[in-house]
């Protein structure tokens, strides 16, 4: 089983019927809430399956973020905690510099498409090596 934290409805649409994935859908217009939610899971011993900063789009550009986290709990994965904390600090800073603009629906669809493609690569890789 794996946990997929996302605020991207296209990602939910694509992976909702997948047996080995629990989806935590977040309602937020930027990626911080998804990052905080993932961080709280890492603090309890879950570990990252995909990197929080997928894609070269900066946190104040793409509103969407999907992160895959392990369902099983082992002891604290210190490197992953450090990684997500640094991503949160960077996202807070860049959103503070300039909040996410209001995009047209067409553009939002493009952002959702890229986020969906990147996380799907991670999910397929995880399924291939039947991550638990």
């Amino acid at each position: 089983m794996m946990i997929l934290i996302t605020n991207n409805e296209d990602v939910v649409e694509q992976w909702k019927n997948c047996r080995d994935i629990v989806i935590m859908k977040r309602e937020s217009d930027n990626m911080l809430d998804v990052l905080y939610c993932s961080r709280d899971l890492l603090h309890k011993g879950h570990c990252l399956l995909t990197h929080p900063f997928t894609g070269s789009l900066k946190p104040n550009e793409s509103p969407y973020k999907s992160i895959l986290v392990s369902e099983t709990v082992k002891q604290l994965h210190v490197d992953h905690v450090a990684t997500i904390e640094q991503c949160i600090a960077s996202a807070q800073k860049s959103l503070e510099n300039r909040p996410i603009p209001i995009y047209s629906e067409k553009l939002l669809r493009d952002f959702r498409l890229i986020d969906k493609d990147l996380i799907s690569n991670g999910i397929m890789r995880a399924q291939e090596s039947h991550q638990k």
């Binding site: 961080r39 709280d40 603090h43 309890k44 904390e85 600090a89 807070q92």
Partner: protein, 349 residues
């Protein structure tokens, strides 16, 4: 070119009023240059004149941060100077933090350029390096002449809107700002030259230093706990409900001291967690999971420890810049020493 007007901020010691016993004096004003201001005036030469000096005690400033800063800025505003100097504070921790706070307030509230000076180990450096020009100084006032000369030259450049050079030329502490420039050679060639030096063990200069922290010698052990007074400090953001001191949930700029005398356990309804860096539900359920008051009180009652301090000290750890965290500790360590605390247990989330 008309002479630039300068105001100089110093503490009780450098104003010759007195040492620790005079650290409580509130802000006051003197005409012209005082103490180190004399050497500074000489370094400024004909281009600028110190028209007034503001003096304030380090303890007064530390304990009345907001009001002291307001009063000092008011005095400086009255003079409408072109340039402000604070310190130099060398390695005096509380004086350094005061010099940084005043200089920052002057720049942000009055838009007047300000320059100060501190030794690298002064916590004021890490706290204010990103906001201010802080000239590197030696440990003590022995290096006064060289320090004020660098402060004067940097100050004059800033007051006359001249281009300020990089840290190594002007002698100020690296501010941690990444500024672009055009190098002689392209990056790939610099990389090849750097790997050759590193492989041969020759000296080279990295272009992006990784963040790191200095080391401190460990303290000798506490031998007899039955007489020791122990205090709890936490960066877990535990504060009384309603957060009276308005401590921020991250990048905290202050800390709180909260009374626990007479309490056997942390009362869940009187205390809360405001920390932005972790899932607070568990702490809210039982505050002792962050501040172990229940166990410490048992140890005190059983005589395993002499005394538990009547208060605990709290701030939020996440995002708090290294500088501020260090400055807090400088501040409250003085109080711990005054209250005879011999050991501290620090908990963090």
């Amino acid at each position: 070119m008309k002479k630039l007007k300068v105001v100089h901020y110093i503490n009780n010691f450098f104003a010759g009023i007195g040492g620790e016993e005079k650290a409580g004096i509130s802000p006051e004003e003197r005409d012209g240059a005082v103490g180190p201001g004399m050497a500074l005036a000489q370094a400024l030469g004909e281009e600028a004149e110190i028209i007034a000096t503001v003096v304030c005690g380090d303890s007064y400033f530390g304990e009345n941060l907001a009001s002291a800063e307001k009063d000092i800025v008011a005095i400086i505003r009255k003079h409408q100077p072109d340039l402000v100097f604070t310190g130099p504070a060398f390695n005096a921790g509380r004086y350094g933090v005061a010099c940084g706070a005043v200089a920052k307030a002057v720049e942000e509230q009055l838009g007047i350029p300000a320059v100060t000076g501190m030794h690298e180990e002064n916590p004021g450096v890490d706290m204010y390096r990103k906001d201010l020009y802080i000239i590197k100084t030696g440990h003590s006032a022995a290096g006064m002449k060289k320090t004020v000369t660098s402060m004067a030259s940097l100050g004059l450049k800033r007051a006359q809107n001249q281009l300020v050079g990089p840290p190594e030329e002007e002698g100020y502490h690296v501010r941690g700002m990444r500024i672009n420039y055009w190098a002689e050679k392209r990056a790939s060639l610099r990389a090849v030259e750097m790997i050759l030096k590193k492989v041969k063990g020759e000296a080279y200069q990295t272009e992006y230093p990784m963040p790191d922290f200095g080391r401190v010698e460990p303290m000798p052990p506490v031998l007899d706990f039955s007489k020791a007074k122990v205090a709890i400090v936490t960066s877990g953001g535990i504060v009384p409900t309603g957060n009276p001191d308005r401590i921020e949930s991250s990048s905290a700029t202050k800390y709180g001291i909260y009374d626990i005398s007479g309490l056997d356990s942390m009362p869940a309804d009187d205390y809360t967690s405001i920390h932005g860096g972790y899932d607070r539900t568990y702490a809210l359920e039982d505050i002792n999971r962050v501040v172990p008051l229940d166990v410490m009180r048992d140890l005190e009652r059983e005589g395993i420890i002499g005394k538990l301090a009547d208060y605990f000290i709290s701030t939020t750890g996440t995002g708090t810049s290294v500088g501020s965290a260090r400055a807090f500790a400088v501040d409250f360590s003085n109080k711990l020493l005054e209250d005879g605390v011999n050991a501290v247990i620090l908990t963090s989330t």
